[in-house]
Structures are given as structure tokens and as C-alpha cells.
């Protein structure tokens, strides 16, 4: 484990975009990371072996992504996974490697995407578009011109640039198949819940009382992260606008909590797929991707995200904005500050919450970001700049649009 961590960290210092991973050549890869979960024992004392976690956020079908990993990143992937049980050796065929990766895939219970359907190519293209427009504005004198006239100038400029012609068209939507699937899911879940309503109405009060009884046994979280742990985690943070975040911990024992956890994640999945699909996770605008992944048959959970800014600011957003969501999810894990009625308390206990987050944070020694200096806010702004190139605008709208630049 220490050698693998060291190798990952050293390789990441040179950049995972370069060989042996060559992630920069994976044109639909947003983020990728490796982190290690130490060997441990579960709450019943059953051993859990050490594991290596690889996560990637990609806007391509799984089949293509695995093929790309096997082709482009083979050298790095082989070196990282050679430490794992059963990974095919260096002489293995491409097909075996892909099959192993597919077999070891762990599905997320919920997966948040800042803006569904916005791919790497679009993000990078729109960032370049903005830079070109900004440079154009810097070069020209706009004295005495109205916003509408300046907008017309920018139109003409883009139209005259063959390499920017794509920007005049709206971005392609996700595939029809994907949209149909999601639309069906959006309708089907409430429909099923509606059918089950009589049962739910009968069960929910009992569940709420049982949960409250369980919560009353909660104790404040008094542990503080060690300096050594903080230093290790921090040594991989704050090198660019974005940061990787990862926590891991045990799910509380007992059927009540297992059931609650699964139900909350089921609803979280619904929320991130159909409600929080554009620009904000219930008010938090700094998260690019986030996922909740059960491990070891729901005995453990890991949560990982790619976000903007520092972990302190991230935690403050948790406390000030989506405390209710954090509580509903993570209070089903051990070591969480005491909650009331699932949603209240918990994250509002600032220091206890920050300490439990830091204590359960896992260092991410190797992390790749395709556009590390763009905040989620920047990406959304760039998309709006492009959108404003189309259609008619009143003078006030043109003025508003120009303020994006």
C-alpha cells in the first residue's frame, strides 16, 4: 500500500494527463482519481481487505471508456491495478483487461452531474470561445456604442471565424435514448410511490418514531483529526481552482438504518437525475460531480466529488445550504453528529461536523482534471455567453448578456 500510494502521488505530480496514464488523450474524460482504502474490519469485526479505488467522470458510454482505458492508459492502469487480486498480468490480452475492469465496477447509488449533458468538448470549446470574445473586446474601442451594437460586432466576429462557427448553433442535447429513459424514470418513480402511498402512510409514522428512538442514543462526535492525517489530506489539496474530495465510512448497523440509508439514496438519485440537473445541487453551485457509492454489500459507503475552492468553504456550504441533505444521508453512517428527525441538528453542529468530515476524509494522491482552472460558475457563464449569440435581444437583454463577459 505505501509503495502504491507513493507511486500514485509521484506519477500524479508529473500529471496524469501524461504517460503512463495519458488521460489528456481521453477526450471525453472530465475527472479521474485513485485513492486507497486501508485494510480494516467492519463493525462486527469481519476483515475487509485493502482496496484501490479508481473513479472517472466521463461523457462517453462505459464500453468506450473501458476501451479507452485499456488502449490509452494501459501502462498506468496496469501499474496501478497490478497490486489488485486477479488483475491480469502484463502479458494479458486487451479483452481480459477490459473484462476485469468491468467485473470490478461498483455502481453509484446516486450520481450528481452539475449540468447533465455538458461534455468535455463543449466545456473546453465554450471556454475558448469566451477567451476569443474577451480578447476581441479588449482589442476594440467601444466608445459611444450601444450594447446591441457591440453584440452585433461580436456576432459578426464569430461568423467570420470558421473555427468558431460551431458556437452559433446550440449544443447537441443528450441522445434520444437517454432522454427517453430519464423521462420514463421521472414519471415511473412518483407513479410507483403513489400506488404505494397507503402502505407508506401507514409505515412512515412507525419508521419516524423508531428513527427518533435510535437518534436519542446518538453521542456527540468528540474526536478531532490528527495533525498527521490533516497534513496528508491537505498535501493533495488546493493546487488549482478545483479539488477532489473523498470520504469513506461505515454504515450504521441494524435494519432500520440500512433501510433508511437506501431509501434516502434512492430519493437522492431521483433528485440529482430530475431536479438538480442544471448548475446547482440544491443551492450549492461549486460541485462539478458527486457520487454516493455503497461498498462491501452496503456495510461501507464512500462519497466523492470534484468541487471548487477549499474544503473549509465546501463544508460551510454543507452547513449553511444543504445541511438537510447531508444529515439525511450521512447520519446513517457512524461518527456523525447527533441528528433530530433525520434532517435537523447534525451538520449544524459546526465543529463536530467539520471534524467528522476531516476524520473520514481519504487522501486522494492521484487526481486528473480536464479543465482544472474553470469553476462550475465559469463553465455555466461560458455556456450562457454562447447561448446569447443566438436569437434576438432587447437592448436591456443585450446589456445583461454583455455583463457576462
Amino acid at each position: 500500500m505505501p509503495e502504491l500510494r507513493h507511486w500514485l502521488a509521484e506519477t500524479a505530480k508529473k500529471g496524469l494527463g501524461e504517460a503512463p496514464f495519458g488521460f489528456a488523450r481521453c477526450l471525453r474524460l472530465h475527472f479521474a482519481r485513485f485513492y486507497l482504502l486501508e485494510e480494516t474490519a467492519d463493525l462486527d469485526g469481519r476483515p475487509i481487505p485493502a482496496s484501490l479505488v479508481f473513479m472517472s467522470e466521463v461523457d462517453a458510454p462505459l464500453r468506450l471508456h473501458l476501451a479507452e482505458l485499456a488502449d490509452v492508459a494501459q501502462g498506468g492502469i496496469d501499474q496501478a491495478f497490478q497490486h489488485c487480486t486477479g488483475y491480469p498480468g502484463p502479458g494479458a490480452r486487451r479483452r481480459e483487461r477490459i473484462a476485469w475492469l468491468r467485473r470490478h465496477r461498483v455502481r453509484a447509488s446516486a450520481f450528481y452531474v452539475n449540468t447533465v449533458g455538458r461534455g468535455v468538448a463543449q466545456i473546453r470549446g465554450e471556454a475558448r470561445l469566451r477567451e476569443e470574445l474577451e480578447d476581441y473586446l479588449d482589442r476594440c474601442d467601444h466608445t459611444g456604442r450601444t450594447a446591441t451594437e457591440v453584440r452585433r460586432d461580436l456576432h459578426a466576429y464569430v461568423a467570420g471565424r470558421a473555427d468558431l462557427a460551431w458556437a452559433a448553433k446550440p449544443p447537441a442535447p443528450p441522445s434520444l435514448l437517454f432522454r427517453t429513459h430519464e423521462a420514463l424514470h421521472m414519471v415511473a418513480v412518483p407513479a410507483v410511490l403513489l400506488l404505494a402511498l397507503p402502505v407508506l402512510l401507514a409505515v412512515l409514522p412507525v419508521w419516524a418514531v423508531l428513527l427518533r428512538i435510535d437518534e436519542r442514543r446518538d453521542r456527540p462526535f468528540t474526536q478531532r483529526p490528527t495533525l498527521q492525517h490533516l497534513e496528508e489530506v491537505a498535501s493533495y489539496e488546493d493546487f488549482s481552482t478545483q479539488n477532489p474530495f473523498a470520504v469513506a465510512g461505515f454504515v450504521r448497523p441494524g435494519r432500520l438504518r440500512q433501510l433508511t440509508f437506501r431509501a434516502v439514496l434512492f430519493l437522492t438519485d431521483y433528485g440529482v437525475r430530475h431536479i438538480f440537473t442544471h448548475d446547482s445541487l440544491a443551492g450549492v453551485k461549486t460541485i462539478h460531480f458527486a457520487r454516493w457509492v455503497p461498498l462491501d454489500g452496503w456495510r461501507r459507503m464512500t462519497f466523492a466529488s470534484n468541487y471548487d475552492g477549499a474544503v473549509e468553504a465546501y463544508n460551510d456550504d454543507f452547513i449553511n445550504i444543504i445541511w438537510w441533505g447531508l444529515n439525511a444521508t450521512f447520519s446513517n453512517g457512524i461518527d456523525y453528529p447527533p441528528t433530530r428527525w433525520l434532517f435537523f441538528g447534525g451538520a449544524k453542529l459546526e465543529e463536530q461536523f467539520k471534524n467528522t468530515i476531516r476524520c473520514h476524509q481519504v487522501a486522494v494522491p492521484a487526481w486528473y482534471a480536464a479543465y482544472p482552472e474553470l469553476s462550475a460558475d465559469n463553465i455555466e457563464n461560458n455556456a450562457q455567453i454562447r447561448a446569447g449569440l443566438r436569437g434576438d435581444m432587447s437592448p436591456a437583454q443585450a446589456e445583461q448578456w454583455l455583463s457576462l463577459l
Binding site: 474577451e134 473586446l137 479588449d138 467601444h142 456604442r145 450601444t146 450594447a147 451594437e149 457591440v150 478531532r224 483529526p225 495533525l227 490533516l230 497534513e231 491537505a234 498535501s235 489539496e237 488546493d238 493546487f239 481552482t241 443551492g283 450549492v284 453551485k285 471548487d308 475552492g309 477549499a310 473549509e312 468553504a313 460551510d316 452547513i319 449553511n320 445550504i321 449544524k348 453542529l349 459546526e350 465543529e351 482552472e373 474553470l374 469553476s375 460558475d377 465559469n378 457563464n381 443585450a398 446589456e399 454583455l402 455583463s403 463577459l405
Partner: protein, 501 residues
Amino acid sequence: MAVKLDLDDIQGLIARGYRTLPHARFTIFAAHDAADGHALLSWLLPRITPAGRFAGNSALHLAYTADGLRRLGLAEGVIAGFSPQFIEGMTGPNRSRFLGDVGESDPHYWAWGGPQDPPVDGLILLYANSPEVLDAKQAELARQLDGLALRQITVLDTLKLGNNEPFGFHDGISQPIIQGLPRASGAASAGTPGGRVVPAGEFVLGYPNAYGQLTSRPLLPAAGDPRRLLPRDPAGSGAADLGRNGCYLVMRQLEQDVAGFWRYAGQATRRPDGSGDPGARTALAAKMVGRWPSGAPLVETPDRDDPRLGDHNDFGYYRTDPLGLACPVGAHIRRVNPRDSLDPQPGTEASLAVNDGHRLLRRGRSYGPGDGAPTAAGNDSHTERTARADVTPQHQTGLHFICLAASLIRQFEFVQHTWLNNPTFHGLYDDTDPLIGSRDPRGATFTVPARPVRRRYRDLPQFVRTRGGAYFFLPGVSALRYLDQLSADVSSVPFPSSVTR
């Protein structure tokens, strides 16, 4: 919520900035061994100025680093109760990256407090109403330090306290109003951005903070304080509270390139024929600051300075200037205190409440050539003098930045990293604080929103460099008494330097 502060135990620096004591000198020291450290503490203890009623002609305060507390014999287990940033110190590689102390501000180039410099034990802050009193008090202190063979790592002189900081702008206007202090009872209603009363626990440990909770601080079992010198944990645990009535003190020596700042502003605003435009130069400088040289806020007077508004502080941004057309979103004062412009609900009480968790109580003093307080930048003779390319400052000038806070990470470090040095602050792309931000490796753009098109200033030079600094703890008087009596228990074995990190 009514809060009664123990003003006789709290050091006076928390309650007042000593406007009546405009002369100050800061001594950074290290002791060779525990005995010397204790002898100094015993001598200083009766001279410390508490926060209660004050009418003297001088004041003295004392703060320690984690190393300094160790040298006095405070056990590691107790020190572990302080915040991790305090224990780690300001110059660890993770902290430097976080604070923007990179490039020219790298601690390896610091005048004091850097990794190559002698470890700092503590800080003595001396204030006086006249240079003579200050000199006399300082001489007395120096004799004491010499007698004990303590090392004065550096003595930092300051300029006579005036209204302006060295760039020439009226400074120190916006300070948090602390609950429980006299100013709070006379403050405007809590709903306005400038007149908000911030819970005492944001600045004094052992009182409820902005979340209504007690910030963690070192507690020790009651048995560890048999003489009951320390207050007891207000949470009722029965523990002796070493942190109560104290707070963290951040000290940073920030060197200001005053000539470079005005030179840049002058060059960037030249007329097409190449001639200088003093009005435009001052206006650009004001855009960077967010206030005019008189202190008048740009949101209230966007086009010209108005000295009558020099002390105005009761304004927000969201309703009057959401796009930054008057005060740019990236301007210095809009970054260090965004008031009501924060997500998730800008313009509301919720936004102001988020802001409350990131306030700093500033106690800095300027330093530089000893010709009194700097002249206002609006004064042409000053700007002409400093804007001329051939002017090389004979003496370095800047700010001995001091701020007090209950949480280093949520207050000082957060403001420094997430607001001040963040190139993507509030939707920006490559703009750090135009006045004091780091430019390394990004952040050299300053965007001034305007109709129909914003103006971008690229390749902004860095105007402020960090030249020294350390994290201190400013204990309550009882805590100092407790530290003092530890002398009975510790031998005078030299302090092992291996424990410092």
C-alpha cells in the same frame, strides 16, 4: 442573546484598537529556556492591559506561538486542544500554498518567522500616547529582555496611527461590532450590512459563536488546575478552560510597493497622447480598493470622491450594485467583506449571516519612513511623488497586519484563500485581489464592469508581499497566570527544537 464578557480577563486589544495611543512597537521574541520564558512572563503579567475601563497613557499585550507555550511547559496534550493551523504554524508548505505565500511571498524570503529564521516564542505589543512614553516603555522592556538573555528576534516599529494606510487610502473603517462590548449596545439594528453585531464567540473563545456554539479550545481536567486559576468550561464539563477569554492573533508583515502601485495606476490611465491623467489614475486606484482615498465607498459615490462619506459603512452590494458597475466585484473591500452578496440568497439576512462567520477584527499598524501618517492619495503632491518612475523608496513601507479571530481556518485563512486570493471569486476567471492579492501563478487580471463593455486590466503587478508572520494566541489574563505558575513544575532544560514541528 445577552452575553456578559469578562472584561477584566480579556486582553484589551480585543476591545479596542487604541486610537488614543497612536504610537506602537511590536517585539517578537524567543526564550532560550523555560526559566527565562517564565521570568519574562512574571515580569509582564502585571503590566498587561485588560479590556475593562481604560484611561492610561500606554498599554501592553502579550501573545504566544505554540512553540512559546511549549517552552513555558504547557503539555502537548493541552496544546493539542488548539486549532491545527495554530499548532502547524503559518509556514508549513500546505499553509503557504493555502495562504498564497508563494513566489516573492515565500516564507524562505521572510525577514522573520520563516523556516530559516529562529523560531518565534511570542509577541509583545506596546502602545503609547507619545513617542517619549513609547521609547521609555520599550527601553524598560529591552533591559528586561537583555537581563534575561532573551532573544529579540525583531522589533517592529510602526508609523503614528493616522486614518490612512500607506497606499494613501482611509483604512480601518469597517470593523465587526462585537456583542457584549459597549459599541454593540449603541450599534444600528442588526439588519443592516454595516451595523451588524457579531456574536462575541467569533472573537473571544469561550462564548457562543455565529453558530451559537463554543469554538473548540484547550481544556484541561480540573485536577490540572488545582489552584483554580482558570475559568471553568462554560459548557459545564467542569474542565478548566485555558482558552476562554483568549483568541488567536494573526500577524503578517505586508510590504506595500506604494510607488509601484501608483506608477501602475498612472501608466494604465494615460491619455492617448501619453500624458498623465491624475483624476483617472485616482479613479482606477479607487476601483481596485472599492473606496476613494477619503474612504467614501464607491457604491455610494461611484464617480468622484466625497470626503463627507469618508466613514460610511452602512451599505450592501446586492440591491444597489449587483453587477459591480460602481464597485467592481473584484475590488478589495468587496472581497474581504462581501456583505450581502453571498450565495445562496444574496441580499437577504441569510447572506449577511454567512458573512458573519468570516469576519476579522483588524488591529494592524502601518510602518515605513518616519514622516508621520501617509498623505492621502487624492493629494496630488503625494501621488505625483509616488507615481514618478524614478522614485525608489528609501525605506520599505507596509502594514504590520494583525487580526484577531476565534477560528484561524474559518476566519483569517478562509478570507485569505477563498475570497482574496481566489482567481474565480464570485464568477471571476483570473482575478485575485487587485490591491493585496498574490499573482502567482494566476490572478493578474483586474476586471472593471462597465456599460456596454467591461474594462480588463491584464498583467497586474503584485503590490504587496509577505515579509514575515506567525500565528499567536492572545490568552486571557487568568490563562497567563496559569502559564506563569507552570514554572514551579518545569525544569530549565533547554527546549528541544525537534518538537517545533
